[in-house]
């Protein structure tokens, strides 16, 4: 190294130090000027977290299942409001947003202000949220973008991540490729021989040959619905799933902050799965729910298994598996959750 190069390095180090000081000052400037507005415009999740600040001892974290309702419903109350009504001695706060999942719930919970009266956190567990379709959902980039401003980092650094687009952004083509790859990796194991080992192959077989498991050839929309069920429920859940890691983090966070976690496993349209799909799919669905229940009960979480709590007639969407229920369905979920809390919480 020449003398000139050594001199350059010394000068660069000195200037870098000044740059760091400037950045620290800019961080303060940003925090007191533009940060509140940025938070308001780019991070509605933070506002959701703030709802846990005062007056609520139970927070309910959910997605669209919490507030979807049928046009014919006379009772439009959200699930969390129904729970609140069923537990008059408690105040339930609504911390919900469409398309949320455990990763987002973790950040919402983490950002609940230190001064709070929360004792219990009801976390919605949607069995579809573990799968490829949800992980690469086209609603995910917007959520991840919002998540940036909730990170544990200096405010200016968070804004920098936002400015430099440190969140996924994929075209429809890229998303489609990721979905295909994802379904191929969405594997499952059954206790007996089965011709397929991943969701892609199973879905492809049913979708291409248009033959149902019972050998029938129904209308194409029925085939399409069966394929959707396969893509959403054909997997074997284990601790490598990113959502399981997020749920683990939620448990740790709740322990740290002294909150009792309650995992509210949502109802799926098992009637439809039963009638449209091979019985092995129902086996996998039940097996995965059991996995969640066993894993988290062992960690001290109260789990509420609603898998079969809602009948086919109460599901709003008929051509795609969702957890959108009418008032009967929402009431059933709320009653189960409220009853479990009454029974298991002092």
């Amino acid at each position: 190294m020449t003398e000139n190069e050594k001199h350059t390095i010394r000068k660069l180090l000195y200037k870098s130090l000044i740059a760091l000081i400037v950045l620290a000052l800019l961080d303060i400037l940003y925090y007191f000027t533009l940060y509140p507005k940025d938070l308001e415009e780019n991070c509605s999740l933070m506002e959701i977290s703030m709802r846990g600040e005062k007056g609520v001892d139970i927070v309910y974290l959910g997605e669209s299942s919490n507030f979807s309702s049928a046009e014919t419903d006379t009772d439009k109350r959200y699930i969390c409001v129904m729970i609140d009504d069923l537990l008059p001695e408690h105040n339930v706060g609504n911390l919900s947003k469409s398309a949320c999942h455990a990763g987002i719930y973790y950040d919402i919970l983490r950002n609940i202000p230190k001064r709070n009266e929360v004792k219990t956190a009801i976390v919605t567990v949607n069995m579809r949220s573990f799968t490829t379709e949800w992980i690469y959902s086209n609603l995910e980039p917007a959520l991840r973008k919002e998540q940036i401003m909730m990170k544990k980092a200096p405010t200016l650094f968070r804004r920098m991540l936002l400015a430099f687009k440190a969140y996924p952004s994929w075209t429809e083509e890229e998303r489609s490729a990721m979905l295909t790859e994802g379904f191929k990796k969405q594997t499952f194991t059954l206790p007996h021989p089965f011709p397929f080992h991943n969701a892609y192959d199973w879905d492809h077989e049913v979708g291409t040959n248009c033959v149902m498991f019972d050998g029938s050839h129904p209308a194409l929309d029925t085939i399409a619905l069966a394929c959707h069920h396969i893509k959403h429920f054909a997997y074997t859940l284990d601790d490598k799933n990113p959502r399981i890691k997020d749920l683990d983090n939620i448990v740790k966070l709740c322990r740290k902050r002294g909150w009792q976690p309650v995992f509210n496993i949502l109802a799926e349209n098992v009637d439809q799965v039963d009638s449209l799909c091979d019985p092995n799919l129902m086996y996998l669905l039940k097996r995965n729910v059991q996995y969640v229940t066993d894993r988290y009960e062992a960690m001290g979480v109260i789990t509420v298994n609603n898998l079969t709590a809602v009948r086919d007639a109460s599901f709003l969407d008929r051509d795609f598996p969702t957890e959108h229920y009418d008032q009967v369905g929402r009431q059933a979920i709320a009653e189960n959750v409220a009853a479990t809390i009454k029974q298991r919480l002092p």
């Binding site: 350059t8 390095i9 660069l12 400037v22 800019l26 430099f164 687009k165």
Partner: protein, 473 residues
């Protein structure tokens, strides 16, 4: 990889650091690997298309040198190389356009012609590296450049990551020579390079992206906006495209400079030009000089009769338009500039303002000419920006008929601020370059400028994903 992405913020310092840590004889390999990585970040398989272009022109260069005394073979080699390189560009960029137009033409005459559409995306930066590759073979043919025998250096010349995607379109005499040189770590190079990167990021992320949000809305549904809004949208687009492209070029220059490589300037305050001819001397200089050297001059340049010169001008500018994209709007945009240049030359002998004397008079004439040129350029940008003739028709219909509508555009102060600052900066640095201007300031002023730019890039930039406009070319 995008310059304004978090990945690039990690990639750039690592590559620069490794460049200086590595012995000179291995630096080409590092830069080539980094450039491949940079390019493959978009769509990995397109690297093979780039490789085809590189192989064709690399071989052509060596063969032309081998047959330098055998003119017919040398010429054949050049022609084959140009045709094959352009063929790749044609297939990816123009084939679908031609096919669609043939179908339309056939339908017009009542003939049946099946439309064959290739389901392929345009590889990013194809037009840029095709032209850079062509400039190499032409220069070797002309004897101005020795053929590069080291495949790695030649590949790096085409793929050098700072200018790989949207230029500046370099000449072998400048870049290839520098790639062989040993670059020592120098404070001035690092400081100037970082200044350029920061300024480039400001132009793209604060100016272009904040204005782009309004432009997109207006061009998408012009009938929803008043005439005033549409005029504002046109003005904003002028500054958006300038900020966007100047920003990219400035970042490219900065990245190269941190490693000691000097790339050509692509812009010199084009909106301060007092004629269309001058505008093209200052806008996208690497492309306009490419067309001048490899098309305009071979066609005869200025040394031909006036009708022939007019024809040459129309050809050059129409080709320049088509180079930008496979769309009639680009062709018309380029053709219109050709026509304007011819008119400008025709008017040169009419001395309308000869009687105006004195400094004030000259300044007023200058301001008038600059304004006139800016208005022309802005109007033509609307042809460039329109997605189709239908879109352009809608825009001008709305401009002429929506006068009574109330303004729907609520422009955020940050957009106005960025536009005004950009215009001021353009005037301040018109005689030098941002890095040079900044380096000549007192430390306190310099650090205030840095602090402002850093704050603006981080806190005032748009949070929406708006790709670089020239990526589509």
């Amino acid at each position: 990889m995008l310059f304004n992405s978090i990945e690039f913020l990690i990639f750039f310092p690592i590559v620069t650091l490794l460049f200086y840590l590595m012995p000179h004889k291995w630096r080409w390999l590092l830069l080539l690997a980094a450039s491949c990585f940079f390019y493959m970040w978009f769509i990995p398989k397109y690297i093979f298309i780039l490789l085809i272009t590189i192989l064709i022109d690399y071989s052509a260069g060596i063969l032309m040198e081998k047959w330098k005394e055998d003119i017919p073979r040398k010429k054949t080699c050049l022609v084959v190389s140009i045709i094959s390189t352009c063929l790749v560009l044609f297939i990816f960029k123009y084939l679908n356009f031609c096919s669609a137009n043939l179908v339309a033409l056939a339908q017009h005459f009542g003939w049946s012609h099946p439309q064959r559409i290739l389901n392929i995306a345009l590889p990013i930066g194809l037009s840029f590296h095709t032209f850079q590759s062509l400039s190499y073979v032409i220069e070797v043919y002309r004897g101005n450049q020795k053929a590069e025998h080291h495949f790695g250096y030649y590949a790096l010349y085409v793929m050098f990551y700072p200018q790989l995607v949207t230029g500046p379109i370099e000449r072998p005499q400048n870049l290839l020579r520098q790639l062989h040189e040993h670059k020592e770590l120098q404070y001035d190079n690092i400081a100037n390079g970082l200044r350029l990167i920061l300024f480039g990021l400001f132009l793209k992320m604060v100016v272009a992206d904040n204005l782009g949000m309004y432009v997109d809305k207006i061009y998408e549904s012009p009938f929803d906006y008043s005439s005033g809004d549409i005029l504002l949208g046109m003005l904003f687009y002028s500054f958006q495209i300038y900020g966007d492209f100047f920003g990219y070029s400035t970042i490219a220059l900065g990245c190269a400079l941190t490693m000691g490589f000097s790339l050509m300037d692509n812009f010199k305050t084009p909106y301060l030009s007092d004629s269309v001819q001058e505008f093209w001397r200052r806008w996208h200089i690497s492309l306009s000089t490419w067309f001048r050297d490899y098309l305009y001059i071979p066609l005869g340049g200025n040394r031909v009769s006036i009708p022939r010169w007019a024809l040459n001008t129309l050809i050059v500018f129409t080709v320049c338009g088509i180079w930008h994209g496979a769309n009639w709007t680009f062709m018309i945009w380029g053709f219109a500039y050709g026509v304007l240049l011819i008119i400008e030359r025709g008017l040169r002998n009419i001395h309308l303002f000869d009687k105006i004397e004195g400094k004030t008079g000259r300044i007023l004439i200058k301001i008038g000419n600059v304004t006139k040129t800016f208005v022309i350029v802005t109007l033509l940008w609307s042809v460039f920006r329109a997605t189709s003739f239908g879109n352009l028709h809608d825009l001008f219909s709305a401009l002429l008929h929506n006068g009574a509508l109330e303004s729907q555009l609520q422009v955020a102060p940050v957009a106005w601020m960025s536009l005004i600052l950009f215009a001021l900066a353009d005037i301040v640095i018109r005689k030098s370059r941002f890095d040079v201007w900044c380096g000549s300031q007192k430390p306190l002023i310099r650090w205030c400028v840095y602090a402002f730019l850093i704050f603006a890039v981080i806190a005032l930039s748009s949070v929406e994903q708006i790709p670089f406009i020239y990526f589509q070319f």
